[in-house]
């Protein structure tokens, strides 16, 4: 376990304000220590990442919705995975789509995990908890 894991932020890329709110609440309910930064579209995500890079405080994990305005989630993922510094950061696709094509393309581009957002809120909280546990505690990130 790497202690610094708990201080790095988690980047949430999501346009739906309800989903953002629910995700933040879910994290809050689970008493997550990592700060969460939110990007509402792909462009914002990329600029946020650049800021993080300058401050040497890259997120420990990126939660990425696929259906985003301006740049589609898969495009964002592609940009991340072709970026010298960003490509090591695990990207978890967190979306409503259970479409096989989406899942396949996401993994082909280099997604580290693909999670379908459950409609049921309890289950959603469970998912959030598991994401946190795995990606911030159990997983050893690339340094």
């Amino acid at each position: 376990m790497n202690h610094s894991n708990l201080n790095n932020p988690i980047l949430l890329i999501e346009d739906n304000p309800v989903d953002i709110d629910l995700t933040l609440r879910a994290f809050k309910l689970r008493k997550l220590t990592n700060p969460i930064i939110v990007a509402r579209d792909g462009e914002e995500a990329l600029s946020l990442m650049n800021t993080c890079l300058e401050q040497n405080n890259l997120p420990i994990v990126v939660l990425l919705d696929l259906k985003l305005p301006k740049i589609h989630g898969l495009e964002v993922l592609k940009e991340f995975k072709s970026h010298l510094d960003f490509k090591k950061i695990p990207v978890v696709i967190l979306t409503t789509s259970a479409d096989n094509l989406d899942i396949q393309s996401a993994y082909e581009i280099g997604a580290n995990s693909y999670i379908v957002k459950p409609v049921n809120f309890e289950k959603f909280i469970e998912v959030v908890e598991k994401i946190e546990l795995y990606w911030t505690v159990i997983n050893n990130p690339a340094l």
Binding site: N16, D19, D21
Partner: protein, 1243 residues
């Protein structure tokens, strides 16, 4: 005896001795002497009786000992037998390359079946699991449960055997068991040992009934020995008795003398009271006792004599002096054939002719020297009939009638000799067997002190190990040292390990013997002996050859497999039962199977009945005829693609006689397809050729001769077919074209060629213009060319016409242009005339206008003769007076095609005088008013084409129009437009023809596009549904939840219920969206058929519901066979799961819920039946069951979205299957899934 008889014959038995002592007394000395004598007689009697008794006891004991010993021998032999069985399995079991485990076992069992030993002894084999494999000396084709076998003894054989198997080195047990040919129980002993690796109980059993009879024989023998002993006893006793009698007579005499002396002494003495002497009484009584004893002795002797006489054993008594016979018993007389009287003259040597007197005496020496009381020797006995028999002679010395005699007991030892010989033979056989089997045997002792040594090491083993027996016994390391240095440590460790854990020792490895590396297999069983030492009974086998063979086999197998796996051809081997033994990578890939899974299985598993039967028919042909078979086979690969193969099948026979059939197949699918296509195209070509509306033929490229021709060509060219086929290409060309034809042929290529327009000559000499399309082909093996002819004569004409028209139109245009720009009438008409002449291609012409006075005025002329010009300008010819004028009146052109016509119709002399060969006059008329005339003519033979004349006609009217009115110009322009339109139309028509060809393609493309659009729409829809519909749902649920969690205290009960209802509503909505998505996905997801094990499929599917089934205590009965079916896995999965979920849903609340899953198969379909005992439904609502969104129950009763069964129906329809149900309200329902066996769907 005679002596006694004589001595006691007088008066009575008692009187004689009494007389001796009549009234006489005896001295004390005499009395005591008599006492001693009587005591010794008594003691002799007692001793002899005791001896007989003890001897008889000894015999009994000996017999029981013998029995025990025999049983031990038997047991030992059986153990050896079992050890041999195990070593045989040890040899055989390594041969796993040529044989499968099952085949190896089969081989072993077959060999064991043939083993017989001892007295009806045979081998039996059972498994640890209680199956009999080899029973009552026969191999069972189907294993039988041992518990099903009836045991005459009532003993639980299997349990007993299993107990013995657990013992190290096995063990034996006795019981009663039927014989192979006799169901009666016989006593039997079997030795049992386990073979753990195969979990086999190996047993060797033998019957004991013969043993019993052997023992009975021995018992008889021993008894006769006893009699012999008795006889010896008698032999000793009789002389003793005689001695005693002699002694007692002597004593009696002494007594008598003494008595007489006493009497005399008493008579002569002056003794007064003689009568007072008391001796008389006492003595008489004691003497009486002696008499009685003697009498008893006599009786005893008599009895013995009787017994001896009655004995079967030959007993001869003959003189010691001259060896003459004195007596012979009944047995001797019967078996020797001599009567007693005959014997009296003979000596003992007469019946033993092989020995002479000296030899006999030498034999009898120890007897005579008193060194031994009996001697035994073997000799040949000759009967009276001179037949001989080997005998054993037992000789003793005895007394008979006071004479010293030999008593000879003669035993027939023929049988014993034979038995001995037999035993010897068997021993030899056994020894040679042991010598010849390459197995060394040893006993190795491990003492508790950890000292080790060989207790026994067979010579064979020493020979194998290349050391002397002495060295082996001296130090066991001499034996161990032979183990290969690389394996030595391992070997020693293995041995050391057995110190603490004595169990079956097995080692297989290399040894170095005389610098040669060999492979030995060592197997040893431990047994712990009394003092705690471990005694290892071991077998050493030289398996070098086997290993070498194994290695070679492995290498060759490796090579074989590598070769097979690198060839793209399919290769396989099947055994006699047509089960797969081998198949190569290519085959594996084709069927998506693995060798290890298909081994032992047949084509039915891979291909199904229809194909498998076809393949096996060929296989059987190969197996039965032992011939190679080359054939075509058609199979289907795992994806369902048809696969045509050229197959070679060939028989394979191993040395052991096993038969296999091998096969190699080359994929001929493409070839076959091509062949088929070729055939089809040939037919098509034929049809195309024969029925083609265009003339077609084939000519030989070398000779240019026609090879074939179609009907149209014959009709067109006017030849009969036979006639045409004798002609060459040159014959249908005009002579002048032949040179260029030949040049053209030189340049033909393989390619399809359009060789432009040619002139062909028909049979009637007419020339036609043709376009030639041609292509090279092989006809009857020779290069030839296929030609299609298109008669373009008319088209060419039309084309020319069109060209002309175009030209004319251009002219008209120019005229119009000229007329617009010109105000000079003469100039304009000059141009018109020039153009007109150009149009018709003639050299001369005139244009005259009609003056108001109705006379012609020449305005423009070309090539007119001077005379004509003068005539026209000066003579003021009236319109009606000349040839041309009539055409103006008739408003119709006048065309004179020949000079004759010109001469005939020309009214004016001038014209007639000229050599005009063609003349045409066109009226210039506008709005019915004749304005003038346009004439063209020629003095040559050129004839203008009719078309151009028409043009001129038009031109004339146009000119007239122009002349008439300026509006004429516009009118002309309109006409031009019309014309252009016409032309465009015809061009369009041509284009349309091309378009027609593309229409279908376009339609296809359109529908494909539409389909793609629909799919795209569908995908977009699904995507939107999942995103756009579910995202708000998540919000509703999320916030409702937060309300419940965070504001529970602020909500009253009613509000809580509302929130709850909101949440269950969202869940319901979510489920509907999910189901709808799944339902729509069924529509546009590809279906693919695959093989699936229906049993596994059902079990796996049901496992998903295990918890729910357990919770509601469901009884689930699955009657599904393990077979492969072909179906759309995804679809079937959706269908079955929905049906099963339904069954659970509508059954879980009834008592004892039960679901039965059955499987049925007929010629065309597989059926899966799911039956429950749930609430069922009324069949009158059957129509609604499978309709989307139709529900028979309220949501709160049975939750659901109403999509499930609709989805089932759709999933089944996709694979051309069906679903239906039967039900009765309250009694349950059965749902049927029907899967077609032939799936036609591709996508």
């Amino acid at each position: 005896m005679t002596k006694i008889k004589t001595s006691i014959s007088t008066k009575n038995l008692l009187s004689f001795p009494f007389n001796l002592f009549k009234k006489k007394g005896l001295s004390v000395y005499q009395f005591s002497l008599i006492l001693i004598v009587s005591a010794s007689i008594l003691s002799i009697l007692i001793v002899s009786t005791a001896w007989v008794m003890s001897e008889s006891n000894g015999v009994q004991k000996e017999i029981s000992l013998l029995k025990e010993k025999n049983l031990e021998n038997k047991e030992e032999k059986l153990k050896e037998e079992v050890l041999r069985l195990i070593s045989y399995i040890e040899y055989t079991k390594h041969d796993t390359i040529r044989y499968s485990q099952e085949q190896l076992k089969d081989r072993v069992l077959r060999y064991f079946e043939s083993i017989r030993f001892g007295n009806d002894g045979y081998v039996f084999v059972n498994t640890y699991s209680g199956n009999a494999l080899l029973f009552n000396g026969k191999k069972l084709e189907e294993p039988i449960r041992m518990s099903d076998l009836k045991q005459p003894s009532g003993l639980n054989l299997f349990e007993t055997e299993m107990n013995l198997v657990k013992l190290p080195g096995g063990g034996s047990f006795q019981y009663e068991f039927m014989k192979m040919d006799d169901p009666k129980p016989y006593p039997k002993i079997s030795y049992i040992m386990g073979f753990d690796q195969w979990e086999w109980i190996l047993g060797a059993g033998d019957y004991l009934d013969n043993l019993d009879s052997e023992i009975a024989l021995m018992e008889k023998d021993l008894k006769s020995n006893l009699y012999r002993g008795l006889l010896i006893g008698i032999g000793i006793f009789i002389p003793l008795l005689i001695l005693l009698l002699l002694f007692s007579t002597y004593v009696a005499k002494l007594i008598q003398n003494q008595f007489n002396n006493f009497v005399n002494i008493i008579k002569n003495s002056p003794l007064e009271n003689k009568d007072q002497l008391p001796f008389n009484q006492i003595y008489i009584r004691d003497l009486k006792t002696i008499g009685i004893d003697i009498l008893q002795a006599e009786t005893l002797v008599k009895q013995f004599g009787n017994i001896i006489d009655q004995l079967n054993t030959k007993i001869y008594i003959f003189s010691k002096v001259n060896l003459k016979f004195i007596h012979a018993n009944k047995g001797a007389i019967q078996k020797g054939g001599y009567a007693i009287s005959e014997l009296q003259d003979k000596t003992f040597l007469d019946i033993l002719p092989t020995i002479n007197r000296n030899q006999f005496l030498r034999q009898a020496e120890p007897l005579l020297q008193n060194q031994s009381d009996k001697i035994l020797f073997e000799s040949i006995f000759q009967r009276k009939d001179k037949t001989t028999v080997p005998v054993e002679v037992q000789l003793t010395l005895s007394f008979f009638d006071k004479k010293e005699v030999y008593v000879a007991l003669i035993y027939d030892i023929t049988e014993r000799k034979q038995a001995n010989k037999l035993i010897k033979n068997q021993k030899e056989q056994y020894d040679s067997l042991v010598q010849n089997i390459p197995v060394g045997v040893y006993k190795f002792r491990m003492k508790t002190s950890e000292e080790m040594s060989f207790e026994y090491i067979s010579p064979r083993m020493c020979e194998m190990a290349g050391i002397t027996e002495k060295d082996a016994y001296l130090d066991y390391m001499n034996v161990f040292k032979t183990v290969h240095p690389d394996e030595f440590e391992n070997f020693i460790n293995l041995i050391l390990a057995t110190f603490h854990n004595p169990k079956l020792f097995e080692w297989e490895g290399r040894v170095v013997i005389k610098d040669k590396i060999k492979w030995f297999s060592v197997r040893s069983n431990p047994s712990i002996v009394e003092n705690g030492d471990i005694l290892w009974d071991g077998v050493v086998t030289d398996i070098t050859e086997h290993k070498k063979a194994e290695q070679l086999l492995q290498e060759s197998e490796q090579r074989f497999v590598t070769f097979m796996n690198n060839t793209s051809a399919l290769a396989w081997i099947k055994d006699e039962n047509l089960n797969y033994v081998f198949l190569n990578k290519a085959y594996e890939n084709m069927q998506n199977i693995k060798l290890e899974n298909i081994k032992g299985k047949d084509d039915f598993i891979i291909f199904g009945q229809e194909i498998a039967e076809r393949l096996q028919q060929n296989d059987r042909f190969v197996l039965e005829t032992n011939q190679l078979l080359e054939t075509d086979e058609t199979v289907v690969d795992y994806k369902g693609t048809i696969f045509h193969a050229l197959v070679n099948k060939f028989p394979i026979q191993t040395e052991s006689g096993k038969k296999f059939v091998g096969g190699m197949a080359i994929d001929m699918t493409e070839h076959k397809k091509a062949e088929q296509l070729l055939q089809e195209s040939e037919i098509h070509f034929r049809q195309l050729f024969e029925n083609n509306p265009q003339p077609m033929w084939i000519y030989d490229l070398e000779t240019l001769q026609f090879k074939d021709v179609n009907e149209t060509a014959l009709k067109k060219y006017g030849y009969a077919k036979d006639e045409f086929l004798t002609m060459t290409l040159k014959d249908i060309r005009p002579q002048e074209d032949i040179a260029s034809l030949l040049k053209n042929i030189e340049s033909v290529t393989d390619e399809f060629q359009e060789s432009g327009v040619w002139r062909h000559q028909l049979k009637d000499g007419k020339l036609i213009l043709v376009e030639i399309f041609s292509h090279n082909l092989l006809f009857e093996g020779k290069p030839a060319r296929l030609v299609l002819v298109n008669d373009v004569t008319e088209r060419k004409q039309t084309e020319e016409e069109i060209l002309t028209i175009n030209k004319e139109l251009k002219t008209l245009n120019e005229i119009i242009m000229a007329s617009v720009s010109s105000i000079n009438l003469k100039e304009m008409l000059d141009t018109v005339l020039d153009e007109a002449l150009q149009i018709c291609g003639l050299e001369g012409g005139t244009i005259c206008l009609i003056e108001p006075d109705n006379t012609f005025k020449l305005i423009s002329q070309r090539e007119s003769s001077e005379e004509t010009i003068i005539d026209l300008t000066e003579n003021k010819i009236k319109v009606g007076d000349c040839l041309c004028g009539s055409c103006v009146q008739d408003n119709c052109p006048l065309i004179l095609n020949t000079k004759e016509e010109v001469l005939k119709y020309a009214t004016r002399e001038v014209l007639r005088g000229e050599d005009i060969r063609f003349h045409a006059a066109f009226p210039l008329i506008s709005k019915g008013i004749g304005l003038g005339v346009l004439c063209v003519f020629t003095r040559t033979d050129i004839k203008p084409i009719p078309r151009s004349l028409k043009i001129l006609e038009t031109l004339s009217s146009q000119v007239a129009l122009f002349i008439e009115n300026i509006l004429l110009v516009q009118d002309l322009e309109n006409k031009v437009k019309e014309r252009t339109l016409e032309l465009e139309k015809s061009e369009k028509a041509l284009l349309n023809m091309v378009d027609d060809l593309n229409i279908k393609q376009n339609q296809l493309a359109t529908s494909n596009k539409k389909l793609a659009e629909i799919n795209k729409e569908m995908e977009t829809f699904s995507y939107s549904v999942s995103h756009d519909l579910k995202a708000p749902l998540r919000g509703i649920d999320g916030y409702s939840n937060l309300l419940q969690e965070l504001y529970a205290s602020e909500l009253n009960e009613e509000a809580k219920i509302f929130v709850n209802n909101i949440r269950s509503g969202t869940q319901q909505m979510n489920q509907i969206i999910e189901d709808l998505l799944a339902y729509s996905r069924l529509d546009h997801s590809l279906i693919k058929k695959s093989f699936l094990n229906i049993n596994l499929f059902i079990n796996n599917s049901i496992n998903l519901y295990k918890k729910e089934l357990d919770d509601f205590k469901f009884e689930v009965q699955i009657n599904i066979p393990t077979i492969l079916i072909v179906a759309d896995l995804d679809g079937l999965s959706i269908a079955f799961r929905n049906i099963f979920e339904n069954a659970i849903k509508f059954t879980k609340l009834v008592e004892n819920p039960k679901i039965i899953i059955d499987f049925e198969e007929d010629k065309n379909f597989w059926h899966i039946l799911v039956t429950d005992n749930g609430i069922g439904f009324d069949m009158k609502y059957y129509d609604k069951v499978f309709q989307i969104f139709k529900r028979l129950h309220r949501v709160e009763e049975y939750p659901g979205t109403g999509i499930g069964l609709a989805m089932v129906e759709k999933a089944m329809q996709r694979m051309d299957g069906r679903v239906w149900a039967t039900s009765e309200l309250g009694k349950g329902a059965t749902f049927y899934l029907e899967i077609p066996k032939i799936l036609n769907y591709e996508s």
